[in-house]
Amino acid sequence: MREIMAGWGRRVPGLAALGCALALAACGGGDDGGGGGEAGKPATLKVGVIPIADVAPLYVGIDQGFFKAEKLTIQPQLAEGGAAIVPAVVSGDNQIGFSNTTSLIIAASKKLPVQIISQGVLGGKGADDAFDALLVAKGSKIRGPEDLEGKTIAVNTLNNVGPLTINRSLEKEGVDYRSVKYVEVPFPDMNAALESGRVDAAWVVEPFFSQGRGSGAKALLNPFEETAPNLTVATYFASKQYIEQNRDVVDRFKRAMDKSLEYSASNPDAVRKAVLGYTKIPPKAAESMQLPQWQADLNEPTIKQTADLAKKYGFVEQAPPLDELILRQG
């Protein structure tokens, strides 16, 4: 027994060495920096985005060379949502991020130093070009907005743009939005929850809108479009500190982004092709789904409206002043 015990004395350091070896062997893969440059100098920008159709212009702009023309190299960083993108931007790990306006309003109201630097994506003008919808399952007893009182609606994030626009739509129809129960379900799981009757209605965006319709679900209303035509749904933003130190780079990004947005608006085929590259949307869905709207202008009145509604519905205590929230040109 003594020999076995003694033999063991040699093995424990061996195990520790194995641990070290594992750690060392796996080291590697440096961290490529992103960062601003001096005026006119080439710069690399890490942009935090979500793998959805909304950010297609970024990729289209890369493909078309708009960013290269401004001497910018873009490195998109795919994340799951704003909860991971905002800290990344605040800490400087990502120079720029993509986030929906409501989240940014909430962040700014809590004194997070973020600023909108460029348009991101807009809603449609009406039901015909809407890419979001409030769906009810096939054969549902809910026929119109008035039937939604007291029901359960699935949204992808609570206290955010979904409930905000749904509340507004219900208000316009004279329905008491306070009676609605919101439950948080990620977009990919919404149609399943709707079909199995777990929720009474679900607010979806493409490609889940088409997917739901394919299963027989009906669109009750289109919250983005009901709230305002061409509602600014999401924008690109940066931290105030980064903007201060790299104003030139930010301006160049905005110029290139504006070109990408305008180009994407008039070249849907380029968009659909780009979407196939960075998302896993199946090709058939990418071909047929309703694309979001893009333009260079921020459509500020809708941002102001969003801020006011956020205060009205209790998502924020104080609506942040637009001059602080939006980076002004010139």
């Binding site: 909430i106 379900v185 399943a192 199995s196």
Partner: protein, 258 residues
């Protein structure tokens, strides 16, 4: 001996307090948004959890935690005994167990919603599904690792299989089973939070995650603090139970640290 015990007790209280003070000092100096001063966090803690949201969030969370953990323990011990005693069964199920165990809990959520909906049963299912593995594996190891001399001696003495199971194997395996349960308990708290990541309308995890999303950072920290305290309390309670149950074992093994 008595002096050592007094010293131990004093240290047990003094060291955490010292660390808290250090945290307080460091955080009041920092001005990062995500690390607010400890005093802010404590104020928020008092306002939120004592006792404003206690009934509405803490209780439902703990109930789900208890159900999920309980389910995991029962399933883990029962299955673990079966697998520990029957090598063939173990070989049959081992790859499946290892495979299911490696699925990241957030990846289970879509399946959970699909099968169990958006209510409490889904959350309990997720908690139980992930917490069963440490108990299962430790039970298997504990049962299979019972000193064969012990087993064979009792067989030679004519002790029946059933008695052997309940009076020799199981007690010998209990320490390791409890080790597994302890691991599962802290896992259960983590899973409680993850299960409330979606389709939730109340709960501590829900509160922490919503605070994250709405950038309510002191609230988020107060939730994290509560999770730590709960974990500590739950674990202390579990240790008390464990000590009771394993009293005979401690006598035989006399842990140098009890």
């Amino acid at each position: 001996m008595r002096r050592e015990r007094l010293l131990g007790g004093a240290l047990e209280i003094a060291v955490p307090i010292l660390l808290l003070v250090l945290w307080g000092v460091w955080s009041s100096a920092s001005d990062t948004y995500y690390f607010p001063p400890l005093t802010d966090i404590l104020t928020t803690f008092r306002e939120t959890w004592l006792f404003d949201r206690f009934g509405s969030d803490v209780v439902p969370s703990l109930v789900r935690l208890g159900l999920g953990f309980g389910l995991a323990c029962v399933a883990g011990v029962v299955l673990g005994m079966a697998l520990g005693l029957h090598p063939t069964l173990r070989r049959l199920t081992d790859p499946v167990v290892q495979f299911l165990r490696s699925i990241p809990p957030p990846a289970l959520l879509p399946f959970g919603i699909l099968v169990m909906g958006v209510g409490n049963s889904m959350k309990v299912f997720i908690i139980a599904f992930v917490c069963v593995w440490p108990v299962l594996l430790n039970t298997i190891d504990g049962v299979a690792g019972v000193d064969p001399t012990l087993r064979e001696t009792s067989r030679v003495y004519g002790v029946t299989s059933r008695d052997r199971l309940f009076h020799v194997t199981l007690p010998a395996a209990t320490p390791q089973v409890f080790a597994g349960m302890r691991t599962s308990l802290s896992l259960a708290l983590i899973l409680m939070v993850i299960s409330e990541m979606v389709a939730s309308t109340n709960g501590i995890g829900y509160f922490v995650l919503q605070s994250q999303r709405t950038f309510a950072i002191p609230e988020m920290w107060s939730g994290i603090l509560l999770l730590g305290i709960l974990g500590y309390v739950l674990n202390a309670g579990f240790v008390l139970i464990e000590r009771r149950v394993l009293r005979w074992h401690r006598g035989a093994r006399a842990s140098s640290l009890s």
